[in-house]
């Protein structure tokens, strides 16, 4: 455990989280495990946003889903306000569920296709027995309005919406209960920039007003940078670097973080940036490389990287990196 924690106890503490998916052969026997999440630890403070970025398929969604116990965890623990979520059951778990909400990466399939949007938005309130019928309706309309819809949309079905609209609906649903923490799995990826700014402003406003916390998974680094207080970078199921936002963006340490930042496209057709192109074999989570998971593609690879797993190194307050270069 990092020694520098003198800050107030985190709202959510993830400790050594692991999630392995069994891989089945044709006959249904398990022939191996995909190590989607491998020993990931981080903290989210109340009223703050933790941005999670990383290569596609590195386990960000799985992290989010496992934290909320939507997937059976393989190992580790998640402490919410000091209580281990994984050991909660029944009413206690439901209570926690009210405070932890999720925006799914795949908005369309996360909504019951047979239910009208109005109902879908009211459902969280129904589940937790909040408000009368009229108040719920009003709350739903208010939420619709917040994410840029009119009352007209209340009676529509999910398939009648566009991709970006569905994404906003997913967010509205997560907001319905005024939760304490929302796991946002790419909540704005399908939004055009103007709506995206509206949504981000909304998220920030809520954060300020209600001390909301977010686990914010996104690929758009400018968005992540804008909204996050802390950013973690994942690679192949491991959290390879985490730091306060400014620090990460101004002085990235891990070679993967560096290449990631260099690849951000610039909205100016005349500017062409120099990208760090990663070469080498893209490893599979089924057979993660020995040693440092990144060594197959690392431009600065050392010999020990191939055999030795780098330890977590704290280079500055809150800035941790897993890389032999800094050992």
């Amino acid at each position: 455990m990092p020694p520098f924690i003198e800050k107030p106890a985190p709202l959510l503490a993830v400790r050594g989280l692991q999630k392995h998916f069994p891989v089945k052969s044709g006959f249904g026997w398990t022939k191996g495990y995909i190590r989607a999440v491998n020993s990931v630890s981080f903290d989210i403070q109340e009223g703050q946003t933790y941005g999670l970025v990383g290569e596609s398929g590195c386990g960000k969604s799985t992290t989010g889903r496992t934290i909320l116990k939507l997937l059976e965890p393989t190992g580790g623990e998640v402490l919410y306000q000091g209580r281990n979520i994984f050991s909660l059951k029944g009413a206690a778990m439901r209570e926690v569920r009210r405070e932890l909400q999720m925006v799914f990466q795949d908005p369309y399939s996360s909504m019951d296709p047979k239910k009208r949007i109005g109902y879908t938005l009211e459902e969280p309130l129904l589940i937790h027995g909040q408000g009368g019928a009229r108040e719920r309706t009003e709350r739903a309309l208010e939420l619709l309005d917040k994410v840029g819809f009119s009352r007209e949309h209340y009676d529509r079905f999910p398939h009648e919406f566009s991709g970006g609209q569905r994404q906003r609906l997913g967010l509205a649903r997560a907001l319905a209960l005024n939760p304490k923490l929302i796991v946002c799995d790419e909540p704005v990826s399908a939004l055009d920039v103007s709506i995206q700014s509206q949504v981000i402003n909304l998220l920030q406003e809520l954060q300020r007003e209600l001390k909301l916390s977010y686990l914010f998974v996104a690929h758009d680094l400018s968005v992540v940078r804008h909204i996050s207080d802390h950013v973690g970078v994942m690679y192949l199921g491991e959290l390879v670097e985490q730091a306060p936002t400014e620090q990460l963006f101004s002085s990235p340490l891990h070679p993967y973080t560096k290449s990631l930042l260099s690849a951000v496209p610039v909205p100016n057709p005349r500017v062409k940036r120099e990208r760090i192109i990663l070469s080498g074999d893209v490893p599979s989570p089924l057979h993660p490389p020995s040693g440092c998971v990144f060594h197959t593609r690392c431009p600065y690879v050392l010999d020990r990287c191939r055999t030795e797993r780098p330890l977590k190194l704290t280079v500055a307050t809150g800035h941790e990196v897993q890389c032999h270069l800094y050992q």
């Binding site: 996360s110 019951d112 459902e123 309706t137 009676d155």
Partner: protein
Amino acid sequence: MNTVAESALPLRTYRQERRRVLLRKWLDNRLLTTGSGIIALVVAIAFLGPVLVPYTPLEMDAVNRLTGPSWTHLFGTDNFGRDVFSRVVYGTRSSIIISLSVTVIASLIGMLVGLLSAYYALLDHILMRICDGLFAFPSILLAIAIMSTLGPKTSNVVIALSIIFIPSIARIIRSAALVVREKTFIEALHAQGAGPWRIIWLHIAPNTLSPLIIQASFVFAVTILTEAALSFLGAGIPAPQPSLGNILYDGKIVIYSAWWMTVFPGILVILIVLGLNLFGDGLRDLLDPKLTSGRGK
């Protein structure tokens, strides 16, 4: 952005408007309206029967046994010289009552069993094995046993028949529910803290509705005939009260000579099943949001 206060006032008119839209949607559904029309007609025949028919269904006429349709006996007479028309009218009533109760009970319980076993792996093992066992029990034996322990009463007929049909409904619901269970929106519901009851009944169940509707209308049709088979063992509607099924079965022996004893009740069965199926299809269409709009298909 609009504020909520602004939009609160016309909420009621908006709701009215919405109700109108929904009503129109129901009325515009040709399947649904035709189906309910047919059902209404049959139900009317059945329940206004006593006013309609010229004879009682039990009145015998030794001289005019097994006569074909004529003006005095619209649907002919049966092997006791009873008026088939009157019997069919009365029989329709009892058949509808029994089949409907059985369908409703079996569907509800079957659905409960199917959904629970799709949702809880442990219950799955238990409930489905019970269903297997139940399914393997010969229905005749079950009926004889129930009838001889509980007594020959219509309500017991309903119980016996319901038990017979629960396993098949349960299995079909379970199979559909197994697919739905794995969808992301169920995970989303878990994330919101939805309890199993809500997930099962409000989300999985509606998504298994179309196989249920089909299975239920099938059960309805089959019940009519099974009831008749059971009435041979005294486990049906107490003889000599008519039901569509036992009129058909009475006609079975003389099927080659007295066609009217099978054809007329047969037509009624077909009519009821037709009405029910149209209604069911209409309902299914109504509940399928994708049918009204273009993203469907």
